[in-house]
């Protein structure tokens, strides 16, 4: 398909009818941006090592409106993450939020259709926060999500509310009968002194291709705390561009762990905007890639106000013909004195046919700051391997032990125990099976 023409046709058919939901002007503007920017090519510095043109050469079933439910509660039941019995579960199907499939356990958790929130009590919040990520990500794919924004969700954690149940977000794509393009959209507001654990995952049903182009925007207010976990373990016929944009508008604490174990092409944009004094942000990532999969983690930490602390550690295990990209931007604005910003990216390559492009990118405009960054790409610790073998441990077991040890300082930051043991098990099973 000629992507731009295809989406243009879709947009023009649909936009006039959908214009009433309050996002008409925003959509039009985004669509204009999409038309102008197009699909990013490798000439775009932000997409230099991640080629997405191939994703737009396929025919997808792309519907701007939700279709009659093809995914049943029984389907969802098979896909649930461990610990779901104690969790609020938010379910998207093909990019549209499904109230029918979602389970809200915390009685005072506000979950609304995005359009609903934009019309009622949360009108001002939505107007202010929706599209905040556009300031940081200026490419056609990002604009495409906004151009068709519809059927998204708005989640509000009330002031002083400490959510006892974590929130699980399932992005389900039903590709059982066709290739699917899905564009989930969510806006999350964590009010003053509130706390929440958010766990997000992606599942494709069926063997057809899926492409999920997701945008989540989060605001974290004063004295609030957000833990955000992204678990990516979808099939190799699935692709995604997944943007998580978090603005800390008061002294607050954000803790994120991104675990990417599988998928065809996965691009994560994670933005942390430290927009108040004394904000703290921790960004951890573990990617373990096999086959021909491609993982790209682009992170931004923007220090706008003074005295903020950020700590970033991403670790990769790459095997077979997989490819990886790490790009870590740290901005320190002129006002942001006394910034402490740390960044580290480490990669272990298990085969000669895998590669990683890693790029730390620090732009510092204040003079009284502490910023460090480091990046390594290397083989598995051969010394360590011999050490373990010399103690009687067979090579395969020794490799497994070393790689588990290597992953440990990321996995220990996954605080919900059922999720941590789930991820540990996935990694262990992979190490047991296909790492030679």
């Amino acid at each position: 398909m000629n992507s731009i023409e295809y989406f243009k046709e879709r947009f023009e058919q649909w936009q006039p009818d959908a214009g009433h939901n309050g996002f008409g002007a925003i959509r039009q503007e985004a669509f204009n941006a999409f038309s102008k920017l197009g699909i990013p090519t490798s000439k775009n510095e932000e997409w230099k090592y991640t080629r997405v043109a191939g994703l737009f050469n396929k025919d997808y079933q792309f519907t701007p409106d939700p279709q009659p439910a093809s995914v049943t509660a029984a389907d969802v039941n098979r896909l649930r993450l461990p610990g779901y019995e104690e969790a609020n579960e938010l379910v998207f199907v093909n990019g549209f939020f499904s109230f029918a499939l979602s389970v809200i356990r915390s009685s005072d958790l506000t979950v609304l259709a995005l359009e609903e929130a934009a019309k009622n009590d949360f009108r001002e919040l939505v107007a202010k926060q929706f599209g905040d990520s556009n300031k940081y990500i200026k490419d056609g794919i990002h604009a495409l999500n906004t151009a068709f924004v519809h059927g998204g969700v708005f989640v509000h954690i009330k002031k002083d509310q400490v959510l006892e149940h974590p929130v699980y977000v399932y992005n389900i794509t039903d590709a059982r009968s066709a290739n699917i393009l899905a564009q989930p959209r969510s806006l999350i507001h964590i009010n003053e002194n509130a706390q929440v654990q958010l766990v997000e995952t992606y599942i494709t049903l069926g063997a057809n291709q899926s492409f999920t182009n997701q945008v989540m925007e989060v605001t974290v207010e004063k004295d609030a705390r957000l833990e955000y976990y992204k678990i990516q373990n979808d099939g190799d016929h699935t692709n995604q561009v997944s943007t998580t944009h978090i603005r800390q508008t008061g002294k607050s604490n954000v803790h994120t762990v991104t675990v990417s174990l599988n998928g065809g092409l996965v691009r994560n944009n994670l933005n942390l905007i430290l927009d108040a004094k004394f904000c703290e942000a921790h960004l951890y990532g573990l990617y373990f890639q096999t086959g021909n999969s491609h993982i790209d983690n682009h992170t931004i930490v923007d220090n706008i106000k003074p005295n903020c602390l950020s700590n970033e550690l991403y670790k990769g295990i790459m095997s077979d013909q997989s490819t990886g990209v790490f790009n870590g931007k740290i901005f320190v604005r002129p006002q942001a004195q006394k910034t402490n910003a740390y960044q580290s990216n480490k990669n272990v390559l298990l085969s000669d046919t895998t590669s990683v492009n890693a790029k730390p990118q620090l732009e510092i405009f204040a003079d009284d700051v502490k910023c460090t960054h480091g990046c390594t790409v290397g083989k598995l610790n051969e010394e360590g391997l011999f050490y373990l073998q010399s103690r009687g441990i067979p090579e395969k077991t020794a490799r497994t032990l070393l790689l588990r040890a290597y992953s440990a300082d990321i996995l220990e930051h996954i605080k919900p125990a059922p999720i941590r043991s789930y991820v540990e098990r996935l990694i262990f099973e992979r190490l047991e099976s296909d790492i030679s």
Binding site: F386, Q389, S390, R391, G392, P394, L401, A405
Partner: protein, 254 residues
Amino acid sequence: MLSIQDLHAGIEGKKILNGINLDIKPGEVHAIMGPNGSGKSTLANVLAGRTDYEVSRGTVEFLGKDLLDLAPEKRAGEGLFLAFQYPVEIPGLNTINFIKTAVNEVRKYRGLEPLDAVSFLKLMKEKMALMNIEQSLLSRSLNEGFSGGEKKRNEVFQMAMLEPKLAILDETDSGLDIDAIRIVSNGVNKLRNKDNAVLVVTHYQRLLDYIVPDFVHVLYNGRIVKSGTKELALELEERGYDFIKNETSAVEAV
């Protein structure tokens, strides 16, 4: 127990060992001494099976088996143990879990059932007391942030847990003060019996005050150029390695 014949080995095309001959019998303690670069550590590592080294000639028989034919873990299974000169730090790998895996893999190799948690703990407590090592050290990641003395003590503790037939101590005294040497040596001595043997590789004589050898061999240019009893070590200490070098070049000049 161990019989090395005409062993030649090197690394990246560089020859380091040029025909080593050595026999070790159960119950014996042998010391290999020599100046820097003489090939001491190479010998220790070749015996343990480090793959960076290429053996170009010679044979090594260990308890009736062709040692050079075995992967490092199988050598350990057969009862060979190398205490590393530089024990490797592995963040994220719990020391106790590591030792438990090692003990049970070695047991498996020897056709024994794995130890259950209770039996393992009992064995560990026993050896901890013997080696004077604290639980707190073993609860940490393997060697991570350990002092030099702690690392070497951990090596000897692992040796105690694995109960090898032949223990090779590669420069176990390097970087240790005299108190640490005493502690580590006491540990080794407690493990000695008539059925096992120790090969001590060292640059200095001082370790041999504590682990007293039956035989001392001097390695120079990849060959054992002189063998004797513990008095030879004292002579080396007194006269330095130069007299060996002079003697050797005199012999070679003839």
